[in-house]
Point group: C4
Chain length 221, copies 4
């Protein structure tokens, strides 16, 4: 029988390994991003410790927190973004993973308080419309978490640009949230570059709807 400890052990290894995708896709600098994953069957999640280099991350260094963001297991202090992750898990039972980065192009849109318009078929596939901007929110209370949940409530997008700050993405598990963070930066960059020399052509809403529906239901294995 699988114990909660076994489940947490597997999740720590998965979440530790997923941080390598943040560096591989150049979404993070120094220690600036983090991945978390919900522990199935418990009001707990695992998350990166604060200020630890990606090179030094080990499964054992990944910490376990409850849905108030309090440390439950681990030697190190949890990420300073833990409260925002906790808020998302508390209010979105469908979410199994959360990722936060300051990836360059997405953060540039966030700095201008500007949503990324859906002008690419790949963006219709993954985001089903624009990637919205959430409010400016200070760290230290529920503001960031609430901003994420409230903004995503009105959109299909699994990613939100937090004004002047960076990106939060969600998914059914931590891998899906990492994929959303990776694709968010990819489309943020491509649409930015398209707009440097003119206006990208819009995609009609019903075509966006068709693309999103197909991708969510047919793509992959």
């Amino acid at each position: 029988m699988t114990t909660l400890d076994d489940t947490i052990g597997v999740l720590r290894r998965t979440v530790c390994a997923l941080h390598a995708d943040l560096t591989r896709y150049n979404l993070v600098t120094w220690t600036s991003g983090n991945v978390s994953g919900r522990v199935p069957g418990a009001d707990l999640f695992v998350i990166k410790p604060s200020g630890v280099s990606y090179d030094d991350l080990t499964p054992e260094s990944i910490v376990v927190c409850d849905f108030d963001g309090k440390l439950v297991d681990g030697e190190l202090s949890p990420s300073s973004d833990t409260d925002a992750h906790a808020y998302v898990y508390r209010h979105r039972p469908d979410v199994g993973g959360v990722v936060h980065t300051h990836s360059t192009y997405a953060t540039a849109w966030a700095a201008r308080d500007e949503a990324i318009p859906c002008v690419l078929t790949a963006m219709a596939d993954e985001f089903g419309g624009e990637i919205p901007v959430g409010p400016f929110a200070l760290i230290g209370d529920d503001s960031i978490g609430r901003g994420i949940v409230d903004t995503l409530a009105g959109h299909r997008s699994p990613a939100v640009l937090m004004k002047n700050h960076g990106v939060f993405s969600i998914g059914e598990d931590a891998t899906a949230a990492v994929k959303a963070a990776v694709m968010c930066e990819d489309v943020a960059r491509t649409v930015h570059i398209a707009r440097q020399l003119g206006e990208p052509k819009p995609i009609p809403q019903d075509d966006i709807d068709r693309l999103y529906d197909r991708y969510q239901n047919v793509y992959g294995q």
Copy 2:
């Protein structure tokens, strides 16, 4: 005597390995691009399976399809772009390889529905003129394949930008199609950057013709 199975085995290894060039040259993100290759002497081609990470690709995972895009051999579902590849093989017997990517700069031109003008000697060499834009087309029927074939029919270019979507490139074999995808992104980026600070100088058509002719006939070993 070489059997069809042997031929397909070799082609699976080649096409599997060529996907590494897509990641090496940063043409793809997550699982967003694919390479296919025609099986010599048969109405078949091999192609990447859908939604599989480039790290996990093996020669065995590469699938075999017929020219209607139906799976003929392999464990996994073929790429969701298989119908477009199949259409190209069906209508262009001279084509031995097809590549699809959402590479950043090329896709930015595609998002604006704008052809890349031929303002570099390397572009005259490889593309013999502009890189054209094909129509906006939804996945799910022949629209994308037809858009590729019809647009390329009027151009020397082995690459076409599909509006709001990305790039398709062709070649006499899969390696040549990958080279065309790599060079397409390279010139898309250089011409974009040139245009950020002014207008690139045009190259006279007869000089483009001379460059193209020499490169196609003299370059290489």
Copy 3:
């Protein structure tokens, strides 16, 4: 008992290894940047030798200089920026590390003589406000060192853009100075890209103050 030689030996290894972060984060080209570290308990610092490739750096090749920039120990000539580093150590007893680079985006702001405005929460965290520009100064006397110290005196920022030249950053030790150089390029790039398509939204000064205070006192382990 730890001797001065032991201390210098450890510092040489640390400073040698930190140059790998300059290449990893693409802050340097060929031999264009350098890291130094103060020797605790002595009026000495260690620094990169002049014109040596990062691949060829060894702890033994790192040289020891006094606070006039004169070579005290080592086989090679010290970095041509040694006088600037020496000036900083002489006038800022709180500084334990200095880094110099020509990193692309930061140097682009420096070429326009333009400070980087604080429009990102990560920038408020690390820099506590704008990253200022120091004067144009020729190499060969105290001008660069004096420009660094005088400009930083009026700012929380541990990094200064020297006009038409590049970046100098400081820290309590060499690692902190490298982190400041890395984050300086990161925010220089993000704010640049944000400004390409409009004006980033300002962050109110009291929010910058709160972010800076929290980050300096709470972040990390």
Copy 4:
């Protein structure tokens, strides 16, 4: 006693290895750039073979040509840019190495027929002023070589942007020519990015002169 064969063997290894710097600094795509080096004491130089992948280059594959660009030793056809290299060696006895690339930012300036202004101290150090643009020239006769030599005659710069084409750089040996190619792209990128958001500040000519003089005479070991 060192024979000519020994000298050529050493040079083949050096020139082969230097191509790795072209890929490392992202100056080349597919097979688009080449390095050559003069054989001391003979009217010969070694150069990359045409159309060979950088991964497949070996010292043995590097070919030897005379100053008319004719193959003297080697199994493969020489680079299609061989005539341009030969012209430079024939007319510039002080030149021991030549490099050609289509590096992105430098080629973007070349596409606009625009010289790179000297607005960075690192550019004053290495180039002593602007990096000039040479004429549009077709491959196939002396036009490119003559354009390089004639344009560089009026400048301190060891690099020239050939209109609509790319960069040629020279040096006292092949390593110095590679360094010039690397630094040319570096300053082409930084000045481009600086100009995206305004005008870089000029550096007074006498300061450029002082920086150039010091760097050429004092820098390094």
